[in-house]
């Protein structure tokens, strides 16, 4: 072994760094999938007999070497049934086949043993008018559980969030996110494309000013954009709008409080650099001969751009849009200043005229993750719920990004074909 070859060991260090990045990504995605799906997977019901003769029936929600936390029947309020049992005091645990769980419409869960009539009696005693479902999970086989899981997942996606417990589905947050992102796209795309065309066509001081602003502001933290949205849009523009058009409703603010419109505008500014950069890159890759040919045939500048360059750069426009959407869907911090709420009384889109309500507060998937994990009323329910919402969010964002990556690769091949 000569001395020079020894230096080759350094490649192992940098390869290790690359491996660590991959390991982190894999671990993160795997854990998210696991924890997100586990939140919806039906858990078994455990009966723990204690040394002193008492017993506790319910689901294990946390366990450590020293103790178990079990959710037993929540007779009067949600989150009211947790018991912590020291492992040293537990005589035996079992999973009886006849144990049932009744999920009540208000989010409470009741546990018991017996057949359907016992379950119905338990539900009547609880004071809740209806039960969402009654199941005997210990008696179910794998496929029975999988069916239950699918039903839970469907309910998580497609039902609304009841107050005040914040359990149940995330449909309002999903609708809020989609509406917000759609509105933001409508604002950011025309502006971003216009700026990209300008940067592509012009050189000079103004162009370099725009370019510099875009390049440097792309790195400004998103929370600063949120401060801008709050100060300029909500407290500035919104308060003015209220004074001019909604004076009869004051002091109740209409646009003077955070809402969908201000959030969309804030996110539009936040994602402008992404759109401009990727559209300009797309325009720059189009061979100049195409443009020269068009001009030589007598087309005006505008016609060349509108009918030749922009259609040729369509994939780049799409890439910009997708990246902007992915960035906007994941941005939570600025939204917390401009109108996202943990529980909105009404959806931002509904069937009453004018269908889209830009001044309404809204719910957001990313904020649901934060809120369920940290600010929810019941942390032992909140964290699994946050993981399920996070899995949904990551699935959407990663899918969008993968799509953008595939599109970009195809774009490169297409330009290569154009050049040859």
């Amino acid at each position: 072994m000569n001395v020079a070859a020894k230096g080759e060991a350094g490649t192992w260090l940098v390869a290790g760094a690359a491996a660590a990045c991959l390991a982190a990504l894999l671990a993160l995605l795997a854990w998210l999938t696991l924890a997100g799906l586990a939140a919806l997977w039906p858990s078994r019901i455990v009966e723990a007999r204690l040394d002193d003769g008492r017993n506790a029936l319910g689901e294990i929600v946390a366990s450590s070497d020293a103790a178990l936390a079990i959710r037993t029947s929540e007779r009067d309020r949600i989150g009211g049934g947790y018991v912590r049992l020291l492992r040293s005091t537990i005589a035996s645990t079992s999973e009886p086949d006849d144990a049932f769980v009744v999920a009540l419409a208000d989010g409470r869960r009741l546990y018991g043993r017996g057949d359907a009539s016992v379950a119905a009696a338990a539900q009547r005693d609880s004071g809740s008018p209806e039960a969402e479902e009654t199941v005997w999970p210990n008696a179910l086989g794998f496929f029975g559980r999988a069916g239950l899981f699918v039903r839970h997942a469907g309910r998580f996606l497609a039902t609304s969030t009841p107050a005040p417990a914040l359990v149940g589905g995330v449909l309002p947050a999903l609708i809020g996110t989609v509406t917000l992102v759609a509105l933001m796209s409508l604002i950011v795309m025309p502006l971003g494309v216009a700026a990209a065309v300008y940067l592509h066509e012009r050189r000079g001081f103004a162009a370099s000013l725009v370019r510099g602003a875009i390049a440097n502001l792309a790195g400004v933290p998103s929370i600063v954009y949120g401060v801008l949205g709050l100060g300029l849009f909500v407290h500035g523009l919104g308060a003015d709008l209220d004074r001019w058009f909604f004076a009869d409703r004051l002091p109740v603010p209409t646009f003077g409080a955070g809402g969908l419109l201000w959030a969309a505008l804030t996110l539009a500014i936040l994602t402008l650099p992404v759109v401009v950069v990727s559209v300009e890159e797309g325009l720059a890759r189009i061979p100049p001969s195409l443009r020269a040919g068009s001009l030589a045939l007598g087309a005006t500048e505008g016609e060349t751009i509108w009918r030749l360059l922009l259609p040729a750069a369509r994939p780049a426009l799409l890439t910009g849009l997708i990246l902007a959407i992915a960035r906007a869907a994941g941005a939570v911090a600025p939204l917390m200043l401009v109108g996202v709420v943990k529980l909105a009384p009404a959806l931002p889109v509904d069937a009453t005229f004018p269908y889209l309500h830009p001044s309404r507060q809204f719910m957001h998937l990313g904020f649901t993750v934060y809120d369920a994990a940290l600010a929810g009323p019941d942390a032992l329910r909140g964290v699994p719920r946050a993981f399920a919402a996070a899995l949904l969010l990551v699935a959407v964002v990663v899918a969008l990004n993968l799509f953008a990556i595939v599109l970009r690769n195809r774009l490169r091949e297409r330009y290569r074909a154009l050049e040859s």
């Binding site: 060991a9 990504l25 854990w31 790195g219 045939l297 990313g366």
Partner: protein
Amino acid sequence: MSVNPDTYGAFLRTKHDPALTRRRQRRDRLGQLAVQLGTVVVLAALLSIPLFLIASLAAWTPLPERAWERLGTLFAGTLKAATCALLVAVPLGIGAAVFNASFASPRFRGWFKPCLEILEAIPTVVLGLVAFATVAPWLKGHVATLLALVVAMPALLLAGGFALGARAKHANGWLPLWILPVMIAIVAVAASTSRQPLIAVTTPWNTLLIGLALGLAAVPLVFSIAEDALMLIPATHVRSALALGATRWQAFVSIVMPAARSGFIAAIVLGASRCLGETMIVLMASGNTPLADFNLLEGVRTLSAELVLGLPEAAPPGGAYRLLLLAALALFVLTFTLNLVAAQARARLHRRADRGALA
């Protein structure tokens, strides 16, 4: 691509139809106007951030008592969190970039970059959730394990390099995929050992945790800037060195690394800028305790977290509101300056690359 027949037909007709020509020119001017209008709006929107912050601070309201002390504490917390995160992000990001640009096989490169783009795309609120709910409870009992891993992993890699790498004439382009399972196995074994914790922590949501999560969030940015710089170095230089008998690692250390130095600086500076302004991770996993000390086992509170927590309650003309705007301005100036520095460093590198003066 063929010429659009409409355009061509329109051109033929214009020869005989002055009205059509006028209409086309008018449409053209309208189009130009729209583009300029859009650009002006974009510029106004982007410049409105500094203008708004400065303008609203100029309106004089007295700051609350001990405001500067408060800002100082937050500033110290921000710096502490960002430094800790950089200690994670810079070795990982730059190391991965170096491997990817100088040693990886082309097919590995084609896969690796999108992987890091996916990592970048994961919303920080999700990273915050995992740090808060999963890593923190583990870290509470395993601070010593973590530190041991941080020391042992590079040592093991170097040992592996000396034992196995020296035999191969050129580095294996897929090396990370060989290391990956071993690394996962070591971390998994180390993570699952449970003993009495050697280092007791008061709070599981401490700066160490922030460093890990925030650092991971900044890795893709550091990676892409550094890799960008490394890719600018002409391959002919490296090939000449190899022809003269240098190993790949020698070629990298003596030729590529010095040439790409400004790129590395830009990567570190941009990584710092990212870490300073990141909000959700710090908000969720730091405990938000305003402390100005250098204990990594205590929590922190950063400027960004203070903004999110404080602004919804602060009323516009008040002193508390003004203090928060001041915090926002500080954050803006800090990150903007860092971005400028990084942009300068990158521009220098690109200029030299264009001149062919690298290496």
